[in-house]
């Protein structure tokens, strides 16, 4: 049943966003997060929404995929909305009953925060939908490589991430096998209270850990047999090269940032 899982949430397509350099994509995502917090008016936010919509259109990832990625954060959005509406008391009172007072300012902020969170999630989803996990770890390695100056083992970290990704399906298969083996010996995983269920997992976890360690040992052997000696002197088959596409993307972001700043300054008085 687990044989077909794919790690991460990569969506295979051939699009403009897919072809961008993963390093640029990571940097642009970070850039986006920064601007979204600079936004002060609804006009600048609207600009950001426009940017996200355009990016989605150019990524060829179906819109419902993004709705799916928003699902888990709905409680957080509702929670922030309620807190904002309840605690901001400035502005005109729109609704008042018992001790609760909802003001225009509160509603404004709640709406603002909601849009911020949604665009934030959608933007980072574009990154993970359009980039293979290994390319992401590769890009992180290359982006962080200046940290080598401070003796931080960037390559080792990236290698650990790649290996973790590589072994997720293997370990899932292993869990399945152990669970079946324990079931065949009469173990009960389905019934009982939560604590009993957790206790029932122990006979699965212990063999899993033992085998994970022996796998790690063998893997280390195999890696040193293939002349692995850390990041030094290592080359990569797949080179990351900037293309004119990356330039276009950066240019679009620069324009949007300029727009956001202009709107922040000149359209400040326009607000709900």
């Amino acid at each position: 049943m687990f044989r077909d899982i794919t790690i991460g949430q990569y969506y295979k397509a051939d699009s403009f966003v897919h072809k961008l350099d993963p390093r640029i994509k990571i940097l642009l995502t970070l850039w986006f997060i920064v601007i979204i917090f600079i936004c002060k008016t609804f006009f600048s936010l609207a600009l950001m929404i426009l940017l996200v919509t355009v990016s989605i259109a150019f990524s060829k990832v179906p819109f419902k995929m993004f709705l799916k990625s928003l699902k888990p954060i709905i409680p957080i959005i509702i929670f922030t909305c309620i807190i904002n509406m309840l605690y901001i008391k400035n502005g005109d009172v729109l609704l008042e009953f018992w001790k609760i007072k909802i003001t225009s300012e509160g509603l404004n902020t709640a709406l603002f925060m909601t849009i911020r969170i949604i665009t934030l999630i959608v933007c980072s989803s574009i990154l993970t939908y359009t980039t293979v996990p290994t390319m992401l770890t590769d890009a992180i390695e290359r982006l962080l490589s200046p940290l080598k100056v401070f003796h931080i083992e960037v390559h080792t970290l990236a290698m650990m991430m790649t290996l973790a990704l590589r072994f997720i399906p293997t370990l899932i298969e292993e869990i399945e096998r152990i669970t079946n083996a324990q079931k065949a010996r009469g173990a009960n995983f389905e019934s009982g209270k939560l604590i009993q269920k957790i206790k029932a997992m122990i006979p699965v976890l212990i063999p899993l850990f033992v085998s994970a360690f022996s796998r790690a040992y063998e893997l280390a052997f195999a890696m040193s047999c293939r002349c692995y000696r850390g990041g030094e002197g290592r080359t990569r088959m797949k080179q990351m090269k900037l293309s004119y596409k990356d330039l276009i993307a950066v240019f679009v972001f620069v324009l949007t940032t300029a727009g956001v700043i202009l709107f922040n300054i000149y359209l400040k008085s326009f607000s709900f």
């Binding site: 077909d4 996990p133 790649t162 290996l163 796998r215 063998e218 195999a222 002349c227």
Partner: protein, 282 residues
């Protein structure tokens, strides 16, 4: 250099860090073995006879306590030559899952050459060639966990070939595979030996695989008890049985038939040979 791999009076024991050398049991003692370049050698033996240790001594994963192991004239105890030796002698292990490093087939094949610091363009060329030579080129964008055992093992072999080795050691690489996967791996290895002249050391306990080698070595308790062509080795049924091994099914059957008076020739190793011999009798 006639002898590609040369074990000279090798003694080796697995030592714990705090253990004295004298208290550990020697896995192999005064061991001598010479393997010619381009040969296809099968090493047979019961569990714990030291055959995996021999494999590990071949590419400097383990260094002998006494004696020397030479690979293409290089001493494995020479630390400076470590990566030269490992590039020359590639190793394929038993469990294909535990030797694949990357999440995409072609990235995994590139791992070895990347470690050697080869130019990206050259790596690309080597990876494509290596994958084609094990007939896995069409799977280059696959994730390893979606492949069968035999396919994974071929990817692992491709990963070694991309490093342009002169010798490949397969340490029970077919033990976890189904019959089809075993056949795939065996054919690949045979082809590498014949077409590229790569020296093969094939450690196994399947007799029908050892039959395909040019030379068969049988080990027992860290010693070589039989050494020769498959025909010669599998003729020595008594010694094989004593070492806890079986003879190939076809050989056993023909021996039994001979005992009960059927006039078969000696040294029948495969079912096809047996068929032919029986056919000629009818």
């Amino acid at each position: 250099m006639d002898n590609y791999i040369d074990f000279q009076n090798v003694t080796f024991a697995y030592l714990n860090e705090d253990e004295e050398q004298s208290s550990a049991k020697n896995v192999i003692e005064n061991f001598n073995l010479k393997i010619k370049k381009g040969d296809f050698v099968a090493v047979l033996g019961h569990n714990g006879c030291g055959k995996s240790t021999v494999a590990k001594l071949c590419n400097a994963i383990e260094i002998p306590q006494k004696g020397k192991v030479y690979v293409d004239g290089l001493d494995t105890s020479d630390g400076d030559k470590l990566y030269d030796i490992r590039q020359k002698v590639g190793m394929v292990f038993q469990n294909p899952d535990n030797q694949i490093v990357a999440t995409i087939v072609e990235d995994d094949v590139a791992f070895g050459p990347e470690n050697l610091g080869i130019e990206p363009k050259e790596i690309r060329k080597r990876v494509d060639e290596a994958l084609k030579s094990v007939s896995m080129y069409d799977f280059r964008f696959f994730e390893p966990h979606k492949l069968s055992g035999g396919q994974k093992q071929r990817v692992a072999i491709a990963g070694i070939i991309a490093m342009k080795p002169e010798c490949i050691v397969l340490d029970e690489s077919t033990a976890m595979l189904d019959p089809r996967g075993r056949k795939e791996v065996m054919n690949t290895v045979k082809m590498l030996n014949e077409e590229f002249g790569i020296t093969i050391i094939f450690i196994t306990h399947y007799m029908d695989e050892a039959v395909k080698a040019n030379r068969v070595i049988v080990m027992e308790n860290g010693k070589i008890v039989l050494d020769g062509t498959p025909k010669k080795v599998f003729g020595e049924v008594d010694i094989l049985k004593k070492a806890g091994l079986d003879v190939p099914e076809a050989t056993e059957l023909s021996l039994e038939l001979k005992k009960s008076g059927v006039g078969l020739p000696d040294n029948i190793l495969s079912m096809e040979e047996l068929f032919k011999a029986l056919e000629s009798l009818i």
